[in-house]
């Protein structure tokens, strides 16, 4: 699914370099955040769900759409000094969660990896609900 990867990369890299991840600039007084900007903010939270990001690395983890999650990681190969990156797509299907990696590696998650991803998804929801959308994750009500 090259379109999904392209969409994910557009979200990661973006087409407007002036947009800051942490504090998106409001272009007009009443202009609020776009869907892409919201995903970028969510990804900042998502990336931290998995612990400290090593210095020099870049990590993204976010919900792309109703059934897809994206993990993206950039790092410098210590042996060659070259920058490397990897994108993993998780697709939620009726019979399980499919992991798709570049190079056409497909496999359904099993065991602890499946369980951990699902816990991460729940934590992602709970944290973005509170931190970004200011809503109680259990009731959906606006937090005061």
């Amino acid at each position: 699914m090259p379109n999904v990867f392209k969409k994910a990369l557009d979200l990661l890299v973006g087409t407007d370099a002036s947009i800051s991840l942490s504090m998106p600039k409001k272009l007009r007084p009443f202009k609020q955040l776009s869907e892409r900007e919201l995903i970028q903010l969510e990804s900042e939270i998502g990336a931290k769900l998995f612990g400290t990001i090593p210095a020099g690395n870049r990590r993204e983890f976010f919900c792309l759409d109703r059934s897809t999650w994206i993990w993206y990681e950039e790092w410098v190969d210590l042996e060659t000094g070259k920058q490397k990156s990897a994108t993993t797509r998780y697709e939620i299907h009726d019979n399980g969660i499919l992991k798709a990696q570049e190079g056409a590696h497909y496999s359904f998650l099993e065991g602890e990896e499946l369980r951990n991803l699902t816990v991460a998804i729940q934590m992602y929801y709970e944290q973005v609900a509170r931190k970004i959308y200011k809503r109680d994750p259990r009731t959906g009500q606006k937090l005061v």
């Binding site: 009443f30 998995f50 612990g51 400290t52 919900c63 190969d77 969660i97 991803l117 699902t118």
Partner: protein, 94 residues
């Protein structure tokens, strides 16, 4: 980090979440990871001691995924509404 470590890096590293080493999430009122994991296997999946199937876990994940998208969609929709109001305001002022 070596390339080898990045091949199948993923959620196994969840155990390294720093704020949960103290047993709580960073919000104070949140739930500990252990609680979340227990909820995953016991409460949400039918309060059973049986190991949930992959399909049941996927269904659980899908519910949270849809909830995230719903939050996002609602936010964008609310923003559109607010922008629409602002345009009306400008019209009235103009």
């Amino acid at each position: 980090m070596s390339e080898q470590n990045n091949t199948y890096f993923i959620p196994e590293t969840l155990v390294d979440i720093p704020h949960e080493r103290e047993g709580r999430t960073s919000y104070g009122e949140g739930v500990a990871r252990r609680d979340v994991a227990n909820a995953l296997t016991e409460t949400a999946l039918g309060n059973t001691s049986e190991t949930p199937s992959n399909a049941e876990i996927a269904k659980w994940a899908l519910q949270y995924t849809e909830a995230v998208v719903r939050l996002r969609t609602d936010e964008v929709g609310a923003n559109l509404f607010s922008e629409s109001l602002s345009r009306d305001d400008y019209t009235l002022i103009g």
